[in-house]
């Protein structure tokens, strides 16, 4: 069959300049960055992500591949879907590929317990230097105020908070955190993206911690407090909340799922912002982090995990340390 260029066959009416297809940029493709990339690609959006070395880019693509395989094992996808999703995600070293993106999300995953504000500001600055005038720059940060990040931008009105909850491909909402400077255009563009990926946008007016992080942290802290008081066991506190309030996970299982190290960083961020003890990391959280028991990701936290199965730890609070 003969092959020709499509553009030679456009109707004059149709030849008018159209907007380019929506392309998403992601800077920092850790676990959440990867989930956002998968989610967007599942909805037909081309995704480019930036990371710092070729090895890391390869590792990220491997990890995305594994996540897609897990989705197939859990019936959420077919091999054909996987191929299509992978074909739309590409990793690069240089920021210049962000030029064609209509939205760029900063999703830096800082493993170190340090304040990531400067790092994120720098990334915002680099993104702005690479993108077009009307590109929206968003941050997935859980506990940062978008105003604090956008000060590094020449056009702070393009900055917005866009907070995904994990796993981003399953959770049906996304928190859209406007600052007082965010323009209507940037906000509308962000809502359009939320619609494209089939998420319900939850409007948040310029608060660090959004709604989800501010509410989950006191719950987990209070559960730890009850544990320390000997009120009940990990399992029973979880079952109580799960069955009592119809939650998908109890507070401890939720902490393990989020990652206890990440949780502690959120707690420190919100405590720094609000100075309220309800956000101050519980000693149990700190103890688990020191022991490297970060939860489900590493196979042990409040519970143990083997082959995807969660098992209870024997004993009480005193046995929260590493299992033998």
């Amino acid at each position: 069959m003969k092959k020709e260029k499509l553009e030679d066959y456009s109707l004059s009416k149709n030849s008018k300049k159209k907007q380019q297809p929506f392309k998403l940029g992601i800077v920092g493709c850790g676990s959440m960055g990867q989930e956002i990339a998968i989610t967007a690609s599942q909805h037909g959006i081309d995704v480019v992500f930036i990371d710092i070395t070729d090895e890391r880019i390869e590792g990220i693509m491997r990890s995305i591949n594994e996540q897609l395989d897990a989705m197939i094992r859990h019936w959420g996808m077919t091999e054909g879907d996987k191929k299509a999703v992978l074909s739309r995600i590409k990793g690069y070293l240089g920021y210049e590929v962000l030029r064609e993106c209509r939205l760029v999300i900063e999703a830096v995953n800082t493993k170190k317990p340090v304040n990531s504000l400067e790092l994120r500001r720098n990334i915002f600055k680099k993104i702005e230097a690479a993108v077009c005038n009307n590109t929206v720059i968003a941050s997935n940060a859980s506990t940062k105020v978008i105003d604090d990040l956008s000060v590094s931008l020449e056009k702070p009105e393009r900055a917005i908070g866009l907070h995904f909850l994990s796993p981003a491909y399953d959770v049906k909402i996304v928190e859209v955190n406007k600052s007082w400077k965010t323009s209507e255009e940037a906000y509308e563009q962000t809502l359009k993206f939320a619609k494209m990926i089939d998420k319900q946008p939850i409007n948040v007016n310029g608060t660090p911690g959004n709604i989800s992080t501010r509410l989950i942290i006191p719950l987990i802290n209070e559960a730890c407090q009850m544990l320390m008081e000997g009120v009940s066991t990990i399992e029973e506190i979880d079952v109580c909340m799960k069955l009592g309030y119809g939650l998908q996970h109890g507070p401890f299982a939720m902490a393990d799922k989020i990652g206890i190290d990440k949780l502690m960083r959120w707690m420190e961020g919100l405590y720094l912002e609000y100075g309220d003890v309800k956000y101050k990391a519980s000693p149990i959280i700190k103890r688990l982090v020191r022991a490297g028991l970060f939860g489900q990701r590493v196979g042990e936290g409040f519970y143990c995990y083997e082959n995807g199965q969660r098992t209870e730890k024997e004993g009480s609070i005193y046995n929260l340390g590493r299992m033998k």
């Binding site: 069959m1 003969k2 092959k3 020709e4 260029k5 499509l6 553009e7 030679d8 066959y9 456009s10 109707l11 009416k13 149709n14 159209k18 907007q19 380019q20 297809p21 037909g44 081309d46 989705m71 859990h74 019936w75 959420g76 996808m77 077919t78 879907d81 074909s87 739309r88 399953d170």
Partner: protein, 400 residues
Amino acid sequence: MKILVLNCGSSSIKYQLFNIEDEEILAKGIVQKIGMNGSFLENKRSDGDKVKLEGEILDHESGIGYILGVLTSEQHGSLKSLDEIDAVGHRVVHGGEEFNSSVLITNEVVKKMEECIDLAPLHNPPNLKGIYSMQELLPSVPQVGVFDTAFHQSMPAWSYMYAIPYSLYEKYGLRRYGFHGTSHRYVSKRACEFLKLNYENQKIITCHLGNGSSIAAIKNGKSLDTSMGLTPVEGLMMGTRTGDLDLGVLLYIMDKEEIGTQAANTLINKHSGVLGISGVSSDMRDVEDSAADGNERARLALDMFHYRIRKYIGAYVASMGGVDVIVFTGGIGENGPESREEICKDFEYLGLRFDHEKNKGLRSKEADLSQTDSNVKVVVIPTDEELVIARDTFEIVKGS
């Protein structure tokens, strides 16, 4: 009169251009991967000219723009100008309870179609995009909507209702609607023309068997029952869909595998059926080859596929009080002599005498597969949904 038929999917558009007086297809083709990388348009003209046009197709409107562009082009076109297009017919998947026949598209009709989106959230929006685009590109050309569900709107309530609280039917319109209606209507009528029978007093069972399969009981020219329901997942075992399933099984799986509605939807629509059982493929030819090589699961998948069709035929014989004609159509129905043979066995008690010799090797053409003394006629009728859409469009535009 020249009629353009469009079938807009989520990322594709199939089209055929008819000269309706002699029902000649002047051109046909497909636009693929709309809004994605690697999008293209393939056009085939009646004289054999074929071309693949590669480039960016951002949305349905530009896809349709390119279709009109190639149809009027010097090199590969079939029309001198767009003025030659007299009407456009659209395939619309779900017409809900609102539409029991094809209609001329007006603003009021579009509004009602938009109200049906909830019932087919994956299919109706792209169908509507095609309509909006045509209203924009060819505003003075009449458009007609032909609904997959319309033919089955004749089903009586005792046939289409689900045994769920009635309030849920009232609240959400949850009931059997059925699909492939255009195909069931066409092949049942055509079978009667072919067999020289009066359509108005026959009991016909139409088996549309393809990657998606459905079966319908048509009594005196009206659909009495059909196997697909609110969605196309109910009924026969299909390439990748479960077909009928104990609802308790799905609840059990969701609980044990800890999956939500999204994964459950993928499980029942994409991982199941012939593919799920055989583990080989959703394509019947691959599964038949594998079964012939001794793959037991492939054999099981085929046995299940055939058995379930026989079971439905039996049920529809009971519901109509007999059967005069059984029609095979769709990819497997038209091209699967082995499947037809398996499905038609053991129906001697109905007086059906299947002609095994005529069936052997018969593919893609009209044929009577029953012996002359058979009480029940078995026929193969290749389906032609695009032609039905073009004919309906012609009738409606002529009438208006």
